[in-house]
Symmetry: C2
Subunit: 258 residues, 2 copies
């Protein structure tokens, strides 16, 4: 049922570090890895069965069928301009925010996007099975291959438009990057008073679980959700002179006006 | 070693629903429960061994040693004005944001604050063992009783000033209430595009774990943390006309300026 592919990984950052072994475990072969930083390429190679370190972006003689760019957003276009690929191959990038057309310099190949919605840290195990993978391709043949590839490692593989992918990326910024910044502010406020961020751990765990269980619409609590203007005033009084007062006010107003 | 107390619970909301049985499990006796809403008092009574429903706020003949107000913030002062207590008793409120002096109408008793830092939902089990409880009292004798009471249900019991408690409450609003609002916005953005909030589940779980593991200072990721102005422009372009653009801009600027 499954199709197995010969794959080359370009880049050696957090995503490559997780994705390459995962693809091997699913039955694909990683033929080559390439990185601008040779040491990183060697570290990645050590995680793999039989991959070679490729010395340049000239892959015109490569036998790989799929080339996956695991490079930073701003390097995609440059790599796409420099890379030389064999005929009848597919090149993918893995970014949430970059257009598929960033790959169009590589005219000889089919192009696509393979965007796993997760944050990756070297050394921290991630189960890909539950990571949604969002796909975009310029033709049906390529999409079919992308679906095979995605389904070999994840239960949740979805074809999306560029606009969908952008919406998902913006939503992820709110739900994760901005959430971490809220934790950062809480941490700063506690630190000034001599408390550790850890005291919030049970409350954060319960809040997040509740929000995921019953949905954020139903899980909103706190003084703004209750319309408790007296407590809101006290909090803003406490934050007077703080760089966080303006943010407290803005988010509070949004919750009040829901 | 432990001291056990005879306790009355005033109020029948989420906190009372969790706290009263927990205190019984720890060895204390709940003598009476009181609620403005008789049905809620009966529901709470059913969760307890031998508590009576008290018909009014006149507790002058009660044998309880500790009276715990589990009422909403804006009801504390009113209850404190109306309640009649026996001599040599202690009355506590459980609020993060209300001054201990809200209880000072009850001049005959010692007063204190017993603030468990957690969000409670009826029907959802909470382990109190890990819930930090923040204490305030007007004298040492009362603080000693509060510490005994707190330690009988939690490993983390801390004496704090009113200002500390306010800081903790404000920090909790950022880390939990505002975080839930970030989830709400993400949910709205996904919904417009036809996606379910659930696709963010693995990413949110990983983000929160990472932030708790290595601290929010070290866990910040995303385009603002990278200073990726091109992606930030794309996101703000995507949000043009949206009520969430201003918030995206403000939080992004804060992360950029860290």
């Amino acid at each position: 049922m499954a199709d197995y592919y010969d794959i080359t990984i370009i880049g050696s950052g957090n995503l490559a570090w997780h994705l390459a072994p995962e693809l091997e475990n699913a039955g694909h072969r990683i033929l080559e890895v390439y990185s601008r930083t040779p040491k990183n390429a060697r570290d990645l190679q050590k995680r793999l069965y039989n991959a070679e370190i490729h010395p340049s972006l000239d892959f015109s003689e490569s036998e790989a069928e799929i080339f996956i760019l695991c490079v930073s957003d701003d390097a995609i276009e440059e790599v796409a301009q420099k890379i030389a690929l064999p005929g009848r191959s597919i090149i993918l990038h893995t970014s949430g925010s970059q257009s598929i057309s960033k790959l169009s310099y590589t005219a000889i190949s089919d192009i696509g996007v393979f965007y796993p919605l997760q944050t990756f840290t070297k050394g921290k195990r991630i189960s890909f099975e539950d990571v949604p993978i969002f796909l975009e391709a310029e033709n049906n043949h390529t999409m079919k291959t992308l679906k095979n590839l995605g389904r070999s490692i994840s239960k949740k593989v979805v074809e999306v438009s560029s606009k969908d992918r952008m919406a998902i990326h913006v939503a992820a910024v709110f739900a994760c990057n901005f959430t971490n910044h809220m934790f950062h502010i809480a941490n700063r406020i506690l630190h000034v008073q001599g408390f550790d961020f850890d005291i919030l751990r049970p409350l954060i765990a319960e809040t997040v679980n509740k929000s995921l269980d019953i949905g954020p619409e139903n899980a909103q609590t706190g003084p703004a959700a209750r319309g408790d203007l007296e407590v809101l005033d006290k909090h803003m009084d406490f934050l007077k002179g703080s760089e966080y007062l303006e943010m407290y006010r803005m988010i509070t107003e949004k919750i009040l006006s829901r």
